[in-house]
């Protein structure tokens, strides 16, 4: 699920940047430090939409770095249990397949793939094929899946997906 949140961060700016462009540089640094990261609490920070406030700088006595308190708005992506997502299949194995929804990697095990779909070990391109041969899940296919569980690491989020429900599976 996506959120638009206001977040805060302490920015440490190298003293060499203390000059006319200080705030531009501070913003740039904020972008590069924050975007694309994953915080365990909020999820993936997709993009910063606006920087609302930059406090007065405070020089650290020990290092000479300047600390700014920054408040910014960002789009956050956090997967939740039960959520339905679209993802792209990245790898198909006999245990199930891996898919990615943006930065999130999801594993869909054979238990959570409809029982009429079977792993085809023979074909050159490993895939899951339904009994009637109509449906096929192979690499780079787009699937709609439901999140069955997530684990939030300090820097990563893993998820287990399921396509064993109605209206889930390959999106054609």
């Amino acid at each position: 699920m996506f959120f638009h949140l206001t977040l805060e961060k302490d920015l440490h700016i190298h003293p060499k940047h203390c000059g006319p462009n200080l705030f531009t540089i501070a913003q740039q640094q904020l972008y590069s430090e924050v975007e694309g990261t994953c915080s365990g609490r909020y999820g993936f920070i997709i993009t910063i939409t606006s920087v609302d406030f930059i406090s007065k700088g405070k020089v650290l006595e020990s290092s000479g770095y300047v600390v700014f308190q920054v408040r910014y708005k960002a789009i956050i992506f956090k997967p939740f249990k039960g959520e339905v997502l679209d993802a792209i299949v990245t790898k198909v194995t006999n245990l199930g397949f891996f898919a990615e929804a943006g930065p999130l990697s999801i594993f869909v095990s054979t238990h959570l793939i409809p029982s009429d779909m079977e792993f085809d070990a023979q074909s050159a391109n490993p895939c899951f094929v339904s009994d009637d041969g109509k449906h096929k899940i192979s690499k780079d296919d787009e699937v709609r899946l439901q999140i069955k569980g997530t684990r939030v690491d300090a820097t990563e989020i893993f998820a287990i997906g399921s396509i064993r429900e109605d209206y889930l599976g390959v999106i054609s």
Partner: protein, 824 residues
């Protein structure tokens, strides 16, 4: 699963906390009961399971008494067979969070050690033993249906040889080689690392044929990107390997490979082809192939070996520099050896020399070889023997290495070189080779060099260290040797080697035929409804190689060596030979380290083949019985063999000139003659210069302690008294005889102590290799022999002058000697 009433007393239900279809985690309170005991205790019914409640057998308002063991509910338990980064793949539970609770509840099904990672690419995905078994059964069934087996293939040194482009460009020769014409391919890994790859000859045929019989897997210690690139190179269509590539990134450990990673339950249908047995911890599924080395002269380690190597080197250096204080004596652990040597370097104040020696190039070499050393020490001796299968070209290599070394240490007597060579020879057990030209060359160059004992000592230490390097170089040269020996040895020797040896590598075809045989046997047995196992078939295959050979070992190991310490014996037995203690009527081969033993003599009388232990090693490498005629023992000058009773002295004596002479004797008696003459002269020189050397050696240590000659004599006596071995005494005697004419008693002292020092070091070597000890049996006699026989040589002007020179520095040297003795 049906759950029964878990309490000791009967009771009745208060209420359920869950309803049918709810999912419960372990630790949750499913229900509350009131027990029917004296104080009507209320108890919580806590779930020990993760799962979904499928049925509740007691109604919520039912106050009837529940008896013990009565079924109360049904639950569909998730056993978390498949896990993805700590998440159960089927129920989505976060299993890492619950570890604490789990441990209390003791839910053994979620024990991490039971989890196996079986996918090639994703080590984050693990499965339980049960699930692995199920998957493997499916896989095995599929393989059987296709009449295939699994083949785990190593990359580096097995099917390819890779070096970085940088390393290749650093070697001048390769800049003049048309790389494309030579079939050297280039790959780029991660956009920045360029590698030059030479694919082993016959690989296409090998892969194609093998692909019909086996399902191919790659298991390499390279990184994933590297492995993928190589796989593309080997198999552009990506049909052979598909995604079955296991790289370091997905591996459990950096230093070993295990079949458990891919086949946790059943390895009965898996064959491994790898050039190293140590990483597989002697897996019986391993079909070992001779390593493929094409860029023999490129000083470069593999990408994945480099970091580790470098670290270990740094560590060793640090250690060495920390330990500079004491010179530990007695036996050293193998791992300590290197340190000890380095220590010695530092102690000796030979840093100048050291720095010369360890120039950038040799350091780079060491980078590899440090790794090799580690490997070497961690190897069992059997694998170690692999290093010692050499041919003539390789020997030239050795000589070359020595030669360049000698240029560094340009005070070297021939006798000492002989020592060195004998040491090396006995270690390496060279085959019966034509050495005349090269050794002549060496001889010539050495005649102009000055001998010193301490330097030789130092050199020996160095050699002990470098031996491994040499072995490493040799290893590198096994398949592609001596294309660019650049110093002026006889060209004739090398031209033979120049015949594009890199194309002569037929090991893959040998292995292919073995694989075919394994496959055939497996499915033959399978069709007979037996339960074939690849390990058994492989064992059988190995046994066929030396089957019917009844071997007697002679002089290979010292008497009394426990059988468990006789790797050659084990190797022979593993490959089907029967090793006996004495020659019987059925004996087919006598494996000996040298001629002149009773067994060898009686074998010759009976017309039994006498071969060196290399014969066994080589046979196992090429997977067929090697031609015995190439592994004849080198001849030994008869006068030395038949010398006297002293030659029967314990085999653990110092190894001296003799063994070298024996190795070379067959090739050139002229050289031999020269050797013995020069050695005498050189020995004297060595003793003299040793004093000087000693001086330098000890300069840094102390400067006082002036002692008179009598002290030294005392020292000498102490030395000889302390040494209880006959060998050293005879050795000393021989030197006494030797020096008698010069009437320089001090010389005696020095020589003896120096020699003692030498001997001590050599004993260390003896520990290192049993070959040495066994081959050095006759050495004392040879010394005696030479010293008696060559007095005339000794009186030659050169020796006199050198002895005169020494006497000048005597007093200083005496101090140093005292020091040395104290040290020792």
């Amino acid at each position: 699963m049906n759950i029964t009433f878990p309490f000791k007393y009967e009771g009745y239900l208060e209420h359920w906390n869950y309803k049918i279809g709810d999912s419960v985690d372990s630790g949750d309170t499913i229900a509350v009961f009131t027990l029917n005991n004296s104080h009507k205790q209320q108890v919580n019914f806590i779930s020990q399971w993760d799962g979904i409640i499928t049925d509740l057998l007691i109604k919520n308002n039912d106050n009837s008494i529940i008896s013990i063991n009565q079924e109360i509910m049904k639950i569909n338990i998730c056993t978390h067979d498949v896990q993805f980064s700590g998440l159960c793949a089927s129920c989505g539970r976060d299993l890492t969070k619950k570890r604490v609770i789990r441990n209390i509840v003791d839910n053994s099904s979620v024990n991490n050690s039971n989890q196996h990672s079986i996918l090639h690419g994703h080590s984050s995905l693990t499965v339980s033993k049960k699930e692995a078994q199920r998957l493997e059964d499916i896989n095995a069934e599929r393989l059987r249906l296709n009449r295939k087996l699994s083949l785990v293939l190593d990359l580096d040194h097995t099917v390819i040889h890779a070096v970085t482009e940088q390393g290749l460009n650093a070697v001048d020769r390769w800049n003049h080689v048309d790389r494309e014409a030579k079939g050297i391919k280039k790959i780029v890994v991660n956009g920045m690392m360029n590698y030059c790859i030479k694919i082993r000859p016959h690989i296409e045929r090998f892969l194609q044929r093998v692909n019909d019989l086996f399902e191919l897997h790659i298991y390499t210690m390279g990184t994933r990107n590297y492995a993928t690139e190589i796989a593309k190179l080997l198999d552009p269509t990506q049909i052979l390997f598909k995604e079955r590539i296991l790289s370091r990134d997905d591996s459990i450990g950096m230093n070993f490979k295990t079949l458990q990673r891919l086949f946790p339950c059943d390895d009965s249908m898996v064959v491994i082809v790898d050039d190293r047995s140590d990483v597989w911890k002697k897996s019986r599924n391993l079909l070992q192939i001779a390593p493929y080395i094409y860029f023999s002269d490129v000083i470069d380690s593999l990408p994945h070996e480099r970091t580790a190597t470098f670290q270990s080197r740094g560590g060793q250096n640090r250690q060495a520099s920390q330990q500079t204080g004491s010179n530990s004596n007695g036996r050293l652990l193998p791992d300590d050896r290197l340190n000890d040597i380095k220590q010695l370097h530092l102690n000796s104040g030979n840093q100048d020399l050291l720095s010369k020696l360890f120039t950038a190039e040799s350091l780079a070499k060491m980078e590899i070889n440090q790794d090799l050393i580690d490997k070497f020490h961690s190897l069992d001796v059997i694998t170690r023997e692999q290093f010692t299968v050499f041919n003539q070209g390789d020997f030239v290599r050795i000589i070359e290495s020595f030669y360049s070394l000698m240029q560094f240490i340009n005070n070297m007597s021939w006798s000492d070189v002989q020592l060195v060579k004998s040491f090396c020879n006995s270690e390496v057990t060279l085959e019966n080779m034509e050495l005349d030209t090269s050794s002549n060359q060496i001889l010539k160059s050495l005649k102009t060099l000055k001998p010193t004992s301490t330097q030789v000592q130092w050199f020996l230490d160095l050699l002990k260290f470098l031996k491994i390097e040499i072995l490493g170089t040799l290893l590198n040269n096994r398949d592609d040797h001596v294309n660019n020996v650049d110093h002026d040895e006889d060209e004739g020797d090398e031209e033979e080697e120049d015949n594009s040896p890199e194309e002569d590598d037929h090991h893959l075809l040998t292995i292919l035929s073995k694989l075919e045989k394994i496959h055939e046997t497996f499915y033959k047995e399978f069709s007979e409804h037996k339960k074939p196992h690849v390990q058994n078939i492989l064992d059988q295959l190995k046994k066929e190689i030396l089957e019917g050979c009844f071997l007697v070992l002679s002089g290979v190991y010292p008497l009394g060596t426990p059988i468990s310490h006789q790797p050659i014996r084990h190797l022979a037995e593993e490959f089907g030979a029967i090793v006996e203690n004495d020659i019987t009527s059925r004996t087919t081969h006598v494996v000996a380290a040298r001629k002149g033993t009773t067994k060898v003599n009686s074998a010759i009388d009976k017309g039994i083949n006498v071969v060196s232990s290399q014969w066994i090693v080589e046979s196992t490498r090429v997977w067929q019985r090697a031609d015995e005629s190439f592994f004849q023992l080198p001849d030994e000058p008869t006068q030395q063999v038949n010398n006297d009773s002293k030659s029967k002295s314990p085999p653990t004596t110092t190894e001296t000139t003799n063994s070298t002479t024996t190795t070379n004797a067959s090739t050139n008696t002229g050289v031999d003659q020269m050797l013995s003459n020069i050695s005498q002269e050189a020995l004297q020189k060595a003793l003299d210069d040793a004093d000087k050397e000693l001086e330098e050696f000890l300069e840094d240590e102390n400067d006082d302690l002036s002692k008179d000659d009598s002290m030294n004599v005392d020292n000498l006596e102490n030395n000889s008294d302390n040494d209880d071995g006959d060998d050293i005494n005879s050795y000393l005697n021989s030197i006494k005889n030797n020096n008698h004419n010069s009437s320089n008693n001090n010389n005696n002292n020095h020589s003896s102590s120096n020699n003692k020092n030498l001997k001590r070091k050599r004993d260390d070597f003896d520990d290192n290799s049993s070959n040495i000890s066994s081959s050095s049996g006759g050495s004392n006699s040879s010394i005696d022999d030479e010293s008696d026989g060559s007095q005339s040589v000794y009186d030659s002007p050169t020796s006199n002058s050198s002895s005169g020179k020494t006497s000048n520095s005597d007093s200083d040297v005496d101090n140093d000697l005292q020091e040395l003795n104290d040290l020792l």
